[in-house]
Symmetry: C2
């Protein structure tokens, strides 16, 4: 599962897989990183960079699906348009590889990882580190958010599988 946290300055990504050890399935962090954009570069070049780096990471880690944060409506129209441009090329990178894309609202992601929809960034980082059994807090926060989105998707899939089994 490949999580993406889009941003106009930094776009985080993280790869999380489940590892069945016979007992309870464990979550394992495979990779994480951040694509940092230089605001002085032309917009076209920045979008090309996001698309190229995400395409390269998707090729490298060969995930089965992509999870991305859903629209955050409270930003203003100008910021939303700029964020949309980055989101567009990120979605295109996933679509070009034929990967299914799941979208989750920030509230769902935080609820799934911290248990509280209005959790702060530091709480998300702390819980991501704990769930993935990392020795240190994941850095930068954008990569931690991307890991959280991937974890949210895995939790959702596990819940749906349990519900299916119970029926």
């Amino acid at each position: 599962m490949f999580g993406i946290d889009c941003g106009t300055e930094v776009t985080g990504y993280g790869v999380v897989e489940t590892c069945d050890t016979g007992r309870q399935p464990r979550l394992v962090c495979i990779a994480m990183g951040a694509i940092r954009l230089n605001k002085k570069q032309p917009l076209c070049e920045r979008l090309e960079q996001v698309h190229a780096e995400l395409t390269s990471e998707l090729l490298r880690w060969q995930p089965h699906a992509v999870a991305i944060e859903d629209v955050f409506y409270s930003v203003n129209a100008k910021s939303a348009l700029k964020l949309g441009e980055v989101r567009g090329v990120a979605l295109l990178a996933a679509a070009s590889r034929g990967l299914p894309v799941a979208e989750y609202a920030p509230l769902s992601v935080k609820s799934s990882v911290v248990g509280y929809g209005l959790a702060k960034k530091e709480q998300v980082q702390f819980m991501v580190a704990r769930l993935l059994e990392l020795a240190e807090l994941p850095q930068p926060a954008d990569a931690a958010d991307a890991l959280a989105i991937a974890i949210c998707h895995i939790h959702r899939a596990q819940t749906l599988a349990l519900q299916g089994a119970a029926q």
Copy 2:
């Protein structure tokens, strides 16, 4: 000059070139069209369609540059994000072909074509037809808008050339 008018339902495009006949340079419409998106299709597929069709048209017409409408701030954040996604993949299509991209505000485009920044869609269509010596009004309006953006860029380049020659 390849003009693009991005939209979440229809994205128009138009190709305009100048033709030097010895007297005053004429504007010639080389092509126009519209990419229509099916709202029932997943977002990823729609973005892939816009990117693929624009890439194909850019390959076909081999323009030297691309002109695109600049941000329209008065839309709400949700619409702006959706428009941004389409804009992102359109800009990526131009960037991937190494084409320079010029951005123009709707006010500049209308001023350049109609002479009035708050002109209506019909007025833009009428003036585009007149400037390009078309027998009929360009259809759909999104293609006419794309042609208007291309004309705006050519007018701007001509003005800059004249100013340079006068100095």
